[in-house]
Symmetry: C2
Subunit: 316 residues, 2 copies
Amino acid sequence: MASKLYVGIDVGGTSMKVGVCDEGGTLLHTFEGPTENDKGSERIMENMAMYARLVVEQMSGSWDDVQGVGVGVPGFLDIPNGVLISSPNLVLKNAPLKAYLTEKLDKEVRVNNDANVAALGEAWGGAGRGVSDCVMYTLGTGVGGGIIINDRLVVGHNAAAGELGHIAIVSDLEAIQCGCGKKGCLETVSSATGIIRMAKDAVARGDHTSLGAVENIAAKDVFDAAKAGDEAAARIVNRAAYYLGKSMSVVAVVVNPQRFIIGGGVSKAGDYLFNQIREVFFQYTPEGASKGVEIVPAELGNNAGVVGAAGLILRS
Amino acid sequence: MASKLYVGIDVGGTSMKVGVCDEGGTLLHTFEGPTENDKGSERIMENMAMYARLVVEQMSGSWDDVQGVGVGVPGFLDIPNGVLISSPNLVLKNAPLKAYLTEKLDKEVRVNNDANVAALGEAWGGAGRGVSDCVMYTLGTGVGGGIIINDRLVVGHNAAAGELGHIAIVSDLEAIQCGCGKKGCLETVSSATGIIRMAKDAVARGDHTSLGAVENIAAKDVFDAAKAGDEAAARIVNRAAYYLGKSMSVVAVVVNPQRFIIGGGVSKAGDYLFNQIREVFFQYTPEGASKGVEIVPAELGNNAGVVGAAGLILRS
């Protein structure tokens, strides 16, 4: 039994995952319970505290061995004070998570946003294990990210570090409006949403593609068609990969990580996607910033959040 | 008299600047002596040690108050071990600077490259004083840079972090070859060299510009012409500013610094250049990563290196 335990809470709109890690970032035990967002702010915070103690009890661990409790939440945060100012998925408003949990649990508590926490989880206990400098991309509905430098999560002045989906990488001629209000963001081409948009555009333009026969095109349909030899689909995947690789080349000369980790639904396309990204990355990146750099898939899946939350105590 | 002293050595091909800072990054005293590169490796290292003691003596400081000695050198380094592997300007090869100086001076010694050290100097004791997260651009013959996050210099996996001149920001259609071997690097348009190249191209193309009458066009000539109403020159400055601002927007979503500091010869163009950079930066950067962000000129000039070298002890 590990003698030092780190508890992580990954808060979602409907359920919370709570887990216990050892000091190497190995997940020892997890528990999942309802968030009860409909029962109000107080109940959500009570559940956090209750589940944190419960998950340690379930594994017959001693609360005395717990070194701290980390929380990952979606939303806009005052990170130093651990206050959740607002959240798209939770009723919590100006919720003093850190102060509340510190009092209830009598442990050090740290709070960060869910994207940063997932990146930290992969860096600490997943595909970045043993690597001090890594950058994570999460390719889902949008493109999220997180940066770990010298084994520490980078948060930035307004907690906006690692917003990799908003790298303005698309050239002006091809740039379209992003949900963030700006133009040319990586997310407009390399997220599932971007890939689906490009597929629908291709169909609407009358491009010769099997995607015309697909109802409700998903990103996976585009990858499947591309792998099966559909040229229009292959061009779309290539464009998504091109801008991902180019954005990584930019990140490489800024912070020079040893490893890029790619997770999220779109990353399941595997080597077909990864090899195209790698090719572009090494084409655009000077040797000093690319030598020995790896681009690898995430390993923890849905557990990245809970591991990263636990990691906040040691790595933020 | 400050009770804790930090000594910095900024090593150049012909002379070394040595300085003493207090723990707030204020430069208390400097001394400049010959490098004596022509007298060989041993002599260069002896000079470093001698000048370090001399600068403290000159200000009647006590060597006992020295907390450590930092060294900034141009070249390719093994930073953890403080070994200068090779340098474009110095005969030193595989020189164990850290081991040598630690023995001679009986203090903690840290070594880093000159671009990183200059950025750290501005961040610690210059235009970034009091700001934990800053990014420095140095606009000279090339475009150099350095990144300070959480008050610490970011070095990266291959010591290539902060190579901001090699952000591949120019769109493929307009990209030209960079000295690094890649295409589309920021340095190809926003360095003095890039600005001069664009000016010569404009003259060769027969653009209507007063620069046609200038022999040996310098970057300053282009700025002067632009400020005097020369439209071709203004377009060149605007292009250099555009790509600088766009590159900063990328850096902002990656590490979200509070302040960008711009130094080097080209930065002397002042607000005429800075205002154009600011306009592009705020146009391309989502509010989360741009709110409260400042773009300011460097303050320390040639002293940035010596201050940053001294800062390595506290900030690397």
